[in-house]
Amino acid sequence: MAAENSEEKEAAETKADRAGEPLLEVEGVTAGYGDIDVLFDASLQVNQGEFVVLIGPNGAGKTTLIRSIDGVIEPKQGKVTFAGEDVTYETPADMLERGISTVPQEGNIFTDLSVKDNLMMGAYTYEGRVEKRLEMVYNLFPILKERSDQEAGTMSGGQRQMLAISRGTMVDPDVLILDEPTAGLQPNLVTDVLDAISRLKEEENLTILLVAQTEQAIPMADWGYLLRSGEILVDDRAGDLLDNDLVSDLYFGG
């Protein structure tokens, strides 16, 4: 499947067409907290097998958009569909059952549990052989194997992110949503984490929606969105994103 997808993708890229069938679609979502809206009429699409990056400055509403997708908050308007079905008001547990796993930006590990128990909790609803998943994750991040008995809350920032990504992957999802997995990490760790996400995507045949502040994530992606002040301003092929004026304003000042 992975090979087939990437071949398709390569073919599609040359045609300047978007790869894959639409899988996760957000249409005109308005969301916020209490009376305050932070997201206005946002639309986004993630196709089967794609790597989509959502960038934007602090406070743009990126996390709110992710939370509206995975069911932590309910959108006030708009619709979220997955594989053609309306999933707007489903809970995070329902979304997981459908194959969408989210790694939130904050509180993304069980700090009181051991590293291994964190991973086991990630596989809570996984029906296959959990040992295989553990092996896959340990291969990707050998440090987690070394520290499997350590209390997760005592790990460093980088290790926490690795654990958080691994927890989200244990269940063998179809779509992995990652909310700023590189936030607050030192530059070499940012590269490590992004590389690991790329590897995961290939090895696990994942569809990825990555929220990032770092421009380093853009070249890895197929498609990109720029969210600013709660509105999607750019919706373009990731390769063209860095040439976009709005995007370069964001990273290099305008």
């Binding site: 809970t91 549990l113 809570y124």
Partner: protein
């Protein structure tokens, strides 16, 4: 004198069971269930009600028969149902609205009076017993203990062991810990908060009913039995560490022994000096004093962070 240590251990077992019920609710639902003591009493009376229909039968050595075991099981089921109903009707709406913790405390206090009234109305204020037989004693080292009490101690150890295994060695038990630690992430991992809350209430119901029935068996049934132990349960929960099974057991035993041994020690002192105080009415005060002392010198609890916790 030494016998009072044994009495303390037996009382400690019941405090542990009632305390664990409260501890689970505190761990997963984040409020101290003041109704816990009254549910403890209700559990004991539910078993009495069932014994009205179930023949007691007999076991060797102990005063009770299979009827009490069946009544205990039915009481567990009833308490699990009653506590789940209360949780769904009153606490769940508060949880889902994200109400301030004070609402939970007020609700728990309200429920305490509601259920206490129900107990008084249904069974009256007089003391009751499950069995009228005279218990047989086992004597050793100058102390004596009834076989009923030995049963209670062994059964408590078995229950604590089962609970411990469930908590730390099963997927569901760890799912509860995960929910206690980070409920939002647990939900994202497919561990449904609602299911875990229901499970928590059921476990609390089972433990509470068991503690109540054991108290009724070894002491007697009275409408305020659980309430008088509430302070001791509070002690066990706070110093044992919320959700720490062995910690709560250890703290339960400490407070049970302190109450029984401490009060008989002080009684000897008062008797010798002619101070007219009957310590029987001041046992809960000892719990409170010990709690204050521990919170001053060891505010993180006595067992938190030690290997006993896990």
């Amino acid at each position: 004198m030494l016998g009072s240590i044994l009495d303390g251990i037996i009382l400690g077992c019941m405090i542990t069971l009632g305390g664990l019920g409260i501890s689970y609710v505190l761990l997963l639902q984040n409020y101290f269930n003041f109704t816990g003591g009254t549910f403890f009493t209700l559990g004991a009376y539910m078993a009495l009600a069932f014994l009205g229909f179930i023949p007691m039968g007999s076991f060797p050595l102990v005063t009770f028969g299979p009827g009490l075991i069946l009544a205990l099981l039915l009481s567990m089921v009833s308490m699990a149902l009653i506590m789940t109903a209360v949780d769904k009707l009153l606490y769940r709406p508060l949880r889902e609205r994200g109400s301030p913790f004070m609402f939970f405390y007020l609700t728990a206090f309200g429920m305490l009076f509601v259920f206490r009234s129900i107990i008084y109305l249904t069974w009256g204020a007089q003391l009751k017993n499950y069995v009228s037989g005279i218990p047989t004693y086992m004597r050793f080292a100058g102390m004596s203990i009834t076989w009923d009490e030995i049963f209670v101690v062994i059964a408590t150890i078995v229950i604590v062991a089962i609970l411990y295994y469930f908590q730390y060695h099963t997927k569901l038990g760890k799912g509860m810990l995960a929910t206690a630690n980070n409920s939002e992430l647990a939900e994202m991992s497919g561990i449904k908060n609602r299911d875990i809350n229901t499970l928590t209430t059921i476990i609390a119901g089972i433990l509470t009913a068991t503690g109540g029935v054991f108290y009724g068996l070894t002491i007697q049934l009275r409408p305020m039995m659980g309430f008088t132990l509430l302070m001791a349960m509070f002690f066990a929960v706070v110093t044992g560490g919320e959700g720490a099974i062995l910690g709560t057991f250890g703290a339960g035993l400490i407070i049970g022994i302190t109450q029984e041994f401490g009060s008989s020690l002080l009684q000897m002192l008062w008797d010798a000096t002619g101070v007219p105080i009957q310590m029987g009415g001041y046992k809960a005060t000892l719990s409170f004093l010990l709690l204050v002392v521990i919170l001053i010198f060891q505010p993180e609890g006595i067992f938190q962070g030690t290997p006993l916790e896990k």
